[in-house]
Symmetry: C2
Subunit: 243 residues, 2 copies
Amino acid sequence: MSEHPIPAYPVDPINRVKRRHDRGFYDHQTVHKLLDAAALAHVAYVIDGQPFCTPTLFWREGQYLYWHGSTASRMLRNLSEGEPACLTVTHLDSLVLARSGFNHSADYTSVMVFGTARLVEDPQEKLRALTMMVDRLFPDRTATLRPSTTQEIKATAVIVMEIERASAKVRAKGIADDEEDYDLPIYAERLPVHTVLGAPEPCVRLAEGVARPETLSPYRTGRALEGALSEAYQAAYAGKVGS
Amino acid sequence: MSEHPIPAYPVDPINRVKRRHDRGFYDHQTVHKLLDAAALAHVAYVIDGQPFCTPTLFWREGQYLYWHGSTASRMLRNLSEGEPACLTVTHLDSLVLARSGFNHSADYTSVMVFGTARLVEDPQEKLRALTMMVDRLFPDRTATLRPSTTQEIKATAVIVMEIERASAKVRAKGIADDEEDYDLPIYAERLPVHTVLGAPEPCVRLAEGVARPETLSPYRTGRALEGALSEAYQAAYAGKVGS
């Protein structure tokens, strides 16, 4: 037994990967890496028995996930008390065309996080979170912006959820036909899917002499979005708590 | 009043777009177009008060959505009776860097569908659904495959959900700063995100003389995945019910 076990999230019936359990991972490193390579997540929550699945931009700070909403949003009505939620990030890597319908598949990574979502009510914590909401994507950018007004801060709600349980699922094997099917005269392929950055479109109303800052260097044309987001995340949290 | 009103989903407190209601659409055409341009969705459902957000491949047929799971999966335990669910599709089009934190945003489209998810139990309906699960992506492909075994059909569960309520949300305006902020010496840009097809990777064990079929022509290297999925969908359902 290792003297330094790999830090991992506890596994129980809620987060155990049941289908294809060989694809499941629970260690912090795998879970966090997948979260930090993403900006978009889907959050499931329940209001009066009705499930909702809402897309949102989010980020991680240590054992906590943050996302935001308007104070007018549906999700926030119940959140002062804390509500159970599940935040999921999925990245589609390919479609897989096999020799049988059953073996058609997709390569993907996904991570599901379970916890209790709460409104961030402390003004200092909220201000810090609003800063990192931008700076996690674009390191040190907030300091260069027009400061937020009291009205803007009031109109933005920040939600925080401690990662109580998490599981990652990775399918990365491409074509996996039954051995006896490979000889059949059937076409099969892996069809890769890439999520990449296009060329930046600077605002047509930029003030004279304003150039693209060096801090945006992770965002290069043609690069995989995931790589850019991971690099920006590392830069944003370098030396800070929660990295 | 029009004699031919645009077919639309009913709007009520569950699906009304509350935050930024100017971005909300409920007409069938907008909702269906966004669904048919996607393969990946996230489904929210509830087990014992705990929300789950699960990624899945899905497709639409008329007023119904279908997706699949293993008969071992967590979601299916409660589905024979029918369970409320919410299926959401989101496409991220850009990150938007504005001159204030508050105006940082993203261009995106999303569609949320609400209904009651049920297991498909009728064997004929299940077989037809398993065919369209593949053919919706790759028109007429199932007829060319090694037929499914009884065991494979048993091991695959198909879930169907009538679209009871739906709403689409579209944000496509790029940079939208406060008028008085445009003169500030702050860099702003729209950073496009593209989800595109890579070069197909044919199986290294293809039988001799087996070539890529013409029916895969929507899947061209470098093309937007959404465009390919829409074209394949149109071809798959051309002249069939549910298109």
